[in-house]
């Protein structure tokens, strides 16, 4: 591992730990319209947008696995979905290669909505989640809007994380 790669790994690990502290320490007390912020999903989606499909998938997996530690759902469920989601978002972003902020906000918002819906569907499949259609729609829409607004500053955070290495495949 090169020194630059080492710095990136340390920075990424620090972001993951910070995300867990915020998700478990702050989010568990906050809600807007009965919806809790989806911090780890935001980081996974923006990780895919910022770092592309390869590194995004690994980031999504690590974020999801860390998140799974705190959840009652089957261990590995979030890791599976976040890895796939970050890979898909990264692939689409790579094809479009747009740097325009509104487009990136849209990516993050849509990615969040898809992530929540898929997570709940798979959770229902495992009989590990209880949710009404109304609740799923409400959570997906509110979290999608909130995450699209927070997406740009978080993309800058990922740009800082990956700065020591070669430029991102999709520049921020």
């Amino acid at each position: 591992m090169t020194a630059d790669r080492g710095v990136v790994v340390v920075r990424a690990a620090a972001v993951v730990v910070l995300a867990m502290i915020v998700q478990a320490g702050l989010v568990s007390h906050l809600s807007m319209f009965g919806v809790r912020p989806e911090v780890t999903l935001l980081l996974a989606v923006t990780g895919g947008v910022a770092a592309g499909p390869d590194r995004g998938a690994v980031l999504g997996f690590v974020l999801g696995l860390s998140y799974d530690l705190f959840l009652q759902t089957p261990f590995g469920l979030s890791a599976l979905i976040y890895a796939l989601l970050a890979y898909a978002i990264g692939s689409v972003q790579l094809q479009m290669a747009t740097r325009r902020p509104p487009a990136r906000m849209l990516f993050v918002g849509v990615g969040t909505v898809v992530g929540i819906v898929v997570w709940v569907m798979v959770g229902l499949l495992f009989d590990a989640v209880a949710a009404t259609t109304g609740a799923i729609v409400r959570v997906a829409l509110v979290a999608g809007v909130v995450n699209s607004v927070l997406g740009l500053p978080v993309l800058r955070l990922w740009a800082w994380v990956f700065a020591p290495e070669a430029p991102l495949r999709v520049p921020t």
Binding site: V58, G76, A79, L84
Partner: protein, 279 residues
Amino acid sequence: MRSGRSRFVLLLLIVTALSLVTLDFRGFGPLGTVQRSVRGLFEPMVGVGDLALSPFRNAWRGVTDYSTVERENAELRLQIEKLESDPLRQQNAQQQLDELKAQLQIVTAANTDVRIARVISGPVANFENNVRIDKGSSSGIRPAMVVVTAAGLVGRVAEVTDSQAVVELMDSRNFGVGVRPASAVAPTNFVLRGQGAGRPLHVQGELAAGSVQVGDAVVTSGLDRSAFPPDIVVGAISRVPDPSGAAGGSNRVSAVEVTPVVDPSSLSFVTVLLWERKG
């Protein structure tokens, strides 16, 4: 070439995640131990973060929950007045009942060792239905122990670390508890199932028409090998469908609902019963 490597990494991640899900479903012991250990490492950091972030959290709640707090305050004043109206008679009756049960050596929630715990947070994620408490295995708390308040049943311990525990709330999907109507003369036991956060519990199966009425209090039955000690208040019957509406004019009713007596959204302190199921 790049695409092939990329797909290989993704495939590896998918296989790893699916393996973990499978192992978790099969109750693979070492995985649970690793989970608890890593979560135990996170807990002090989350605690510090929680403390540091509390001013932001309080400011946010002040902005978003002010009207709710005012309404709850008014409701609580009404409840206090109601509770203060007849305390001595209730106290005397309860004391007599507890003494009688102690003499008969009946194990109940009232004569079980307990731990008082503070609720430190709600669920970490959307679609979860639990609370975290500040006592864990170092205080003698084990998975499946029953959690109550003075009002009644809250849920049961789902996961434990050294210093914290996660309590699954009773309105969680698939939560089951054996109960009986508190005033039933003939033995009428049935099982309640949670339907999801904020929704009433459903009676599993059918009941004889007339065996329960709207407003009847429901308590844990505490039958042999039950996961709950007897006589813990669970809630009140809130809906009994009309049996005449059933096909064939049945004398049985289904889809009976019970509203929990404890509001999980307003929990501050809970009591963990250090009681474990027999056998």
